[in-house]
């Protein structure tokens, strides 16, 4: 059975999104800064069908991110940048018609809707609750790894104490002052981690942890 890969970009003050998330500010005010290190990469641009960009120490991090994965589970904000109901506009997410996942993507939402089949092999499935998303993603992954995406809600507890192969934190030298915290509300079985790899890259420190308990 595949493992779960958890991966986030966080500010030094521990936010994975800024305050007041909306369609205009899918990562909240100031939140885009958390991903500037990725946007500038050739590997990222290529993944989104674009050209240009740089190659640096973060390239291997992005290349590894989806390599060999079978499905993705993300928060609603990661799909659409919108915490409330979907409305009637037929909003198809902020990734465009050919999202970079190329995999089944299970979106955790309080507002279920029919699956959304996009270009390039990405289908968005909308489910209620992270456990349902993980279950769906595990089934769709057929033994491969599930990538737990960076929408502001899924955090380490969601893997239900099961071992996760890879916890990746991209620590960005930014202070947001407010926003969404990835590890909020840890209660009871707090996972024990061991530092596995540290990569210094331009504008970001790429950290990887193993779950040891």
């Amino acid at each position: 059975m595949g493992k779960v890969r958890f991966s986030i970009s966080v500010s030094i003050d521990g936010y994975m999104a800024g305050p007041r998330q909306s369609i205009e500010d899918p990562l909240g005010v100031g939140g885009m800064q958390l991903h500037a290190w990725a946007f500038e990469l050739e590997a990222f641009q290529r993944m989104h069908g674009c050209e240009g960009g740089v190659v640096n120490a973060s390239t291997q991090i992005v290349d590894e991110h989806f390599a060999g994965a079978g499905a993705v589970a993300v928060g609603q904000n990661m799909f659409g940048g919108q915490p409330g109901p979907w409305g009637s506009g037929g909003w198809r997410g902020w990734w465009g018609e050919d999202p970079p996942f190329h995999l089944p993507v299970f979106v955790v939402t309080h507002h279920p809707r029919a699956p959304l089949r996009m270009g390039g092999g990405t289908t968005f499935h909308f489910v209620t609750g992270i456990e349902a998303a993980l279950e769906g993603a595990r089934g769709a992954a057929q033994g491969k790894d599930v990538v737990l995406g960076g929408g502001a809600r899924p955090h380490p507890t969601v893997s239900g104490g099961r071992p996760r192969r890879r916890d990746r934190v991209s620590l960005v030298p930014v202070l947001l002052g407010a926003g969404e915290r990835p590890f909020e509300g840890l209660r009871g079985a707090v996972p024990r981690l061991a530092q596995d790899r540290v990569v210094e890259a331009p504008g970001v420190t790429q950290l990887r942890y193993r779950v040891v308990l």
Copy 2:
């Protein structure tokens, strides 16, 4: 004029101390884990008049910490591990009679008391408000750097927007789940940081930032 050095150990979920700080648990429940990387160092043991310990990539971090500094400013918890009044027991802090500072130390407290002269050149001065502590420390430092210590309260805003030469964060692979956050309550002039140095060390990632604005 010397600069301010800000230095903290934080958990992955962004706490610099655990919950329920007390004399018994000066760093709160679980908080000592944040400093395990330091305690095991020969450099740390030597600084506290002890022998033994290891030498690793964190050694230079500890060696640099007080090198060339002229004074220290800390929170009350860093002095004594006690958020309330001092009581009548003549509590002289949890560092023993020969604290490792060997410098004037300005303790921010809501409960002023007379200065406390310890062995080895350390004198604790108790002042109200971080600005008063910084002012006292700057005067005592006579042009050298002021080390801003890791008690849970002094955070980056205390430097009042003045440039600080060195922001050091020791990121520890631990999830505390609750406790004191170092960067809480940033409002207005949030400092802009640039990643300056990353050192991978056993059980900790040693990060250094420059303030660019």
